[in-house]
C-alpha cells in the first residue's frame, strides 16, 4: 500500500508522543520505547491537535472527533459538522475547522458548542495571540476571529487557491503553487502587504528562523516540481520592507548551486524545528532530513501524518513493524 493511504497520525504533546491508528490511540514517552496508555481512537484519523491537558483526534472522513484527556487517555467521541480538518486550542476551548460545513465550531471543556459560518472552502486555521485566522481557499479570504465574542471580526481578500498558510505574530504568509508566489498579509491592518515569487510550484512553507531586529525571518518553502526547499529571506522583516514601498534583499535561494535537485524526489512538505529541518515526499512516503549542504533519507514508507518533530527528536511510525521510532535525539 502506498504510504499516502496509511491512516496513522502522530503528535508530540507536553506529556509524550501520541499515535493514532487503526481505531486506537496510544501515548508513548519521549524515548518512544514505553507506552504510557492506550485507548479508543477513530477509524480514519488524519490529524491530532494538542493542548497541555487535552488532545483531539480528527477524523474528516467520518466527520468525528475524539477528545482525549492526556493524563488518562480517556476520551469522548463527538459528531461534528461535515469534514473537520484541523483545530486549535485556545483558553481551554477547542476551535474546530469544519471544511465542508464551512464553519468554525467552538467546543468547551464542558461540552458547550457554538459555531460561526465561514467563507467558501475554509482550508487552514491558525492562531496568533488571542485571535484565530482562517483562510478560505475558493473564496480567497482570510477571516480574523475573536473568541470573546466568538465572531468574525475582520476579513481581507487575498487571492484564492493557496496551498499553505503560516502565521507569525505580525504577518500571514500564503503559498500559491500556481504562479509560484508567496503573499503576505499584515495581521495588524488586515491588508495585503506584498508578494514575491518563489520556485516553480511552491506547496508548503515553514519558518526556518525567527529573525531578529537585525536579521530577517527566513521561510523554508517546499517545491516538489523543482525537488528543492527554497530558503526565502529578507534583510528586513517582510512587513517593514513592504511598508516602506520596496522589496529589498528578498532572494529566492534554492539550496545547492546550479540547477541540481536538492532531493531525489519531489518533496511537498517541509518541517523545521530548532536546528533540524525535514522534508517529505507524500507520493513516495519518503522523509528526508536536510541542512544547507546536504540531504539524506531518514525513513521510507512513512504516512503523511506518520511523523512528528519535537524537542527530543523526530518520531516516526514504522508501519511495517508497527512501532514508534525516534531519530535525531539529543541523548
Amino acid at each position: 500500500m502506498t504510504p499516502l493511504l496509511l491512516a496513522v497520525v502522530l503528535a508530540v504533546s507536553d506529556r509524550g508522543v501520541l499515535v493514532a491508528h487503526d481505531g486506537s490511540i496510544e501515548m508513548f514517552d519521549r524515548t518512544a520505547t514505553n507506552r504510557i496508555w492506550s485507548g479508543e481512537g477513530l477509524p480514519t484519523p488524519s490529524r491530532i491537535v494538542t493542548s497541555n491537558q487535552q488532545a483531539v483526534i480528527i477524523d474528516p472522513l467520518a466527520s468525528q472527533i475524539r477528545m482525549i484527556d492526556l493524563a488518562s487517555g480517556r476520551g469522548t467521541t463527538l459528531r461534528t459538522g461535515e469534514t473537520p480538518i484541523d483545530g486549535t486550542f485556545l483558553n481551554g476551548r477547542l476551535y474546530l475547522l469544519e471544511r465542508d460545513a464551512r464553519a468554525l465550531e467552538r467546543i468547551g471543556a464542558d461540552g458547550a458548542r457554538a459555531s460561526i459560518p465561514l467563507a467558501a472552502d475554509p482550508a487552514f486555521v491558525r492562531q496568533a495571540g488571542d485571535r484565530i485566522y482562517v483562510y478560505s481557499r475558493t473564496a480567497g479570504v482570510i477571516q480574523e476571529i475573536t473568541t470573546s465574542p466568538f465572531e468574525v471580526r475582520r476579513t481581507v481578500a487575498v487571492a484564492p487557491f493557496a496551498s499553505d498558510l503560516e502565521l507569525d505574530a505580525k504577518n500571514a504568509y500564503l503559498v500559491f503553487p500556481r504562479g509560484g508566489k508567496i503573499r503576505i498579509v499584515s495581521l495588524a491592518t488586515m491588508k495585503n502587504s506584498g508578494s514575491f515569487d518563489v520556485g516553480a510550484v511552491p506547496v508548503d512553507a515553514a519558518f526556518a528562523s525567527r529573525g531578529t531586529a537585525l536579521t530577517a525571518r527566513t521561510l523554508a518553502v517546499a517545491d516538489p516540481s523543482a525537488k528543492r526547499v527554497w530558503m526565502v529571506q529578507g534583510a528586513e522583516s517582510f512587513a517593514q520592507a513592504f511598508a516602506r514601498g520596496f522589496l529589498r534583499g528578498l532572494i529566492g535561494l534554492g539550496l545547492y548551486g546550479g540547477g541540481a535537485s536538492q532531493f531525489p524526489t519531489g518533496i511537498d512538505r517541509v518541517i523545521v524545528s530548532r536546528s533540524r529541518s525535514y522534508a517529505y515526499d507524500s507520493s513516495s512516503g519518503t522523509l528526508y532530513r536536510f541542512t544547507k549542504s546536504s540531504s539524506s533519507i531518514v525513513a521510507k514508507n512513512v504516512a503523511p501524518e506518520g511523523f512528528a518533530v519535537g524537542a527530543d527528536g523526530l518520531y516516526v511510525w514504522d508501519n511495517a513493524v508497527r512501532r514508534l521510532q525516534r531519530f535525531d535525539s539529543n541523548d
Binding site: A7, T44, L61, E82, A200, V201, S225, G266, S283
Partner: protein, 466 residues
C-alpha cells in the same frame, strides 16, 4: 480535450434496436477504445466506463476488474508525472485514482487521494468535480456537495457553459441526496434550459450530424459530455418531479429522454411506473426489459405485477424477453422450466449477478418449504443413499390431496407440491377432483408437471377426508 466525469448514475443505454441490451454498444465502443488507443485518458476512461456499464448490468465482478485496471493506470500515471515533476498531471492522475478507489468501495484510500490531489489543484473546477464524484460514490453527499459547489464557484469565473452545467448537475445530484429538493430543482432546470438554449445550438447540430447517442459517466469530448449531461439531468429532474407526485412533468421529462434515446432503461422503467393502462404498462415492461434485462428493481417490480392469468411468453428472442419468461415461469411455479431458462441465459452471461441470484432463488424454492420439496431436490440432485432409497421404497405415506382433474386421476397437489401418477388411475368409490381427499401412497421419485417439480407417486388407497 474535454474529459468530464458526470458521476455514476449507472444510467446507460444505447441505440434503438430493441433486440439488443442498451449498454451493448457502449461496451463495444469502450473495448475498442482500450484496444486501439494507448494514451492514459483513453485507457482510464475506457476502464471506468466499462466498470460502470457492467455495474448497470449487475456484473459486479467484471466491473471491479475494470475499476482495478483504471486504478492501476492512474497509479502508473501518478508516478510518472511525479518523476517528471509535472504536478498538475500528478494531481489529475491522483484524482482519478481516488475515483477508482471510490468505485471499488475503498473509502479511506479514496478520501486520502482526493485530499492529496486538491492540495495541488484547488484552483481546478475539474479536480473539485472529481472529488465530488468520488464522495458521491462513497455515499458522502455533504462532502460531494461542498466540493461540487467549489467547482461551480471556480467555473463561474470562467467562460465554459458546458463545464459549468456539468458542475451544477453535480451539485444538484449531491444535494438531492441531502433532500434539498428546491435548490436541486432550480439547478437542474437551469442545466436543462441551458443545454437546450441557443448557446449550444452548434454543438447540438454536431450531435445530430454525427448521430451520436452514447452516454458515459466519464465522457470524452464535448458531444459525449453534452449528450450524457442532458440525459442525466433530465432523468434526475424527472425523478424529482415523480417523487413529489408531479406526474405530468415527470412524464414529460422521461419522454424527452426517450425522444433522444428510445431505449434508455431508466426512462423506460419509469414509464412502467407511470403507465396509465395495462397495455401501456406491458409495452413499457417489454421495452425496459430489452433495454436492461438485469435491473433488479425492474425484475422485482415485474414480479409484483405478474399474475397467473397472464399469457406466457412464447419463445422470446431477446434477452429481456427470456428474463421475463423466467419470471413468469417462477410465478407459475414452473421452477424446472424457469431454471432452464435462466441456465440458458447464464451460458451467454456467466458473470451476471442478477441471473445468478434468480437461479439461487429458484433452487431455494425447489428445495425449500416442505419435506416433500426437499425430497424432490434430493432425487433431482441424486443425493439419496442406497439405504435411504430402500427405506423409502418400503414406506407408505398418507396426505391430504386435491386432484387437478378426473376421475380418472393422474395429477394433483399435496399442499403446494405437485404430484403425478405414472398413469391415470381410477379408485373404488365416488371421488371428485378439486376437493380435498385422503391419499395413501408410496414415493417412486421426482418428476415434472407443467414445467414444475413434482413427485412421482404410486397410489395405495384413496379415501374421503374424515
Amino acid at each position: 480535450m474535454r474529459f468530464s466525469v458526470l458521476g455514476s448514475l449507472f444510467l446507460v443505454g444505447a441505440l434503438s434496436a430493441q433486440t439488443r441490451i442498451a449498454s451493448d454498444f457502449e461496451i463495444r465502443q469502450m473495448e475498442e477504445q482500450i484496444e486501439k488507443s494507448n494514451d492514459f485518458f483513453s485507457q482510464l476512461s475506457g476502464h471506468l466506463n466499462l466498470g460502470d456499464l457492467r455495474m448497470t448490468r449487475n456484473e459486479k465482478a467484471i466491473a471491479r476488474i475494470e475499476y482495478a485496471k483504471a486504478l492501476e493506470e492512474a497509479n502508473i500515471e501518478r508516478l510518472n508525472a511525479r518523476r517528471a515533476s509535472e504536478l498538475t498531471r500528478y494531481a489529475t492522475a491522483t484524482s482519478y485514482a481516488a475515483l477508482a478507489q471510490a468505485k471499488l468501495g475503498n473509502a479511506t484510500e479514496a478520501f486520502a487521494l482526493s485530499e492529496e490531489a486538491i492540495r495541488y489543484t484547488s484552483d481546478s473546477a475539474k479536480s473539485w468535480n472529481l472529488y465530488a464524484s468520488a464522495m458521491t460514490e462513497l455515499g458522502k453527499p455533504a462532502k460531494a456537495a461542498s466540493a461540487a459547489r467549489n467547482a461551480v464557484a471556480i467555473a463561474s469565473r470562467e467562460n465554459d457553459k458546458l463545464d459549468l452545467a456539468i458542475y451544477k448537475y453535480s451539485v444538484a445530484s449531491s444535494i438531492l441526496d441531502l433532500n434539498q429538493t428546491d435548490e436541486a430543482e432550480k439547478l437542474l432546470v437551469d442545466v436543462v434550459t441551458s443545454l437546450r438554449s441557443p448557446a449550444f445550438k452548434s454543438l447540438r447540430r454536431d450531435v445530430e450530424r454525427t448521430e451520436s447517442f452514447e452516454i458515459y459517466s466519464t465522457a470524452r469530448g464535448e458531444q459525449s459530455a453534452y449528450i450524457s449531461l442532458l440525459n442525466r439531468s433530465q432523468l434526475r429532474l424527472a425523478r424529482l418531479y415523480e417523487d413529489r407526485g408531479d406526474l405530468m412533468r415527470a412524464r414529460q421529462q422521461y419522454a424527452n429522454v426517450l425522444a433522444d434515446r428510445s431505449d434508455d432503461p431508466t426512462a423506460l422503467a419509469a414509464m412502467v411506473r407511470l403507465s396509465s393502462s395495462p397495455q401501456e404498462r406491458d409495452r413499457y415492461y417489454a421495452a425496459a426489459f430489452d433495454a436492461n434485462p438485469f435491473s433488479l428493481w425492474l425484475i422485482r417490480d415485474y414480479q409484483r405485477h405478474l399474475s397467473g392469468e397472464q399469457t406466457l411468453l412464447s419463445a422470446p428472442d431477446t434477452t429481456g424477453g427470456k428474463v421475463r419468461l423466467a419470471l413468469q415461469q417462477m410465478q407459475r411455479n414452473q421452477l424446472i422450466a424457469a431454471r432452464q431458462t435462466i441456465d440458458e441465459l447464464l451460458k451467454k452471461f456467466p458473470n451476471n449477478d442478477t441471473l445468478q441470484l434468480l437461479g439461487r432463488e429458484i433452487d431455494a424454492r425447489r428445495s425449500g418449504g416442505s419435506d416433500l420439496r426437499a425430497l424432490i431436490a434430493a432425487f433431482n440432485n441424486n443425493t439419496l443413499t442406497a439405504a435411504q432409497r430402500t427405506e423409502l421404497d418400503q414406506k407408505t405415506f398418507t396426505s391430504e390431496v386435491v386432484f387437478d382433474a378426473g376421475p380418472p386421476f393422474e395429477t394433483g397437489r399435496i399442499d403446494d407440491v405437485p404430484f403425478r401418477f405414472s398413469e391415470p388411475m381410477t379408485f373404488n368409490g365416488a371421488f371428485m377432483s378439486g376437493v380435498p381427499l385422503r391419499l395413501t401412497y408410496r414415493i417412486l421419485g421426482a418428476s415434472q408437471l407443467n414445467g414444475a417439480d413434482a413427485l412421482l407417486l404410486e397410489p395405495v388407497r384413496l379415501e374421503p377426508l374424515r
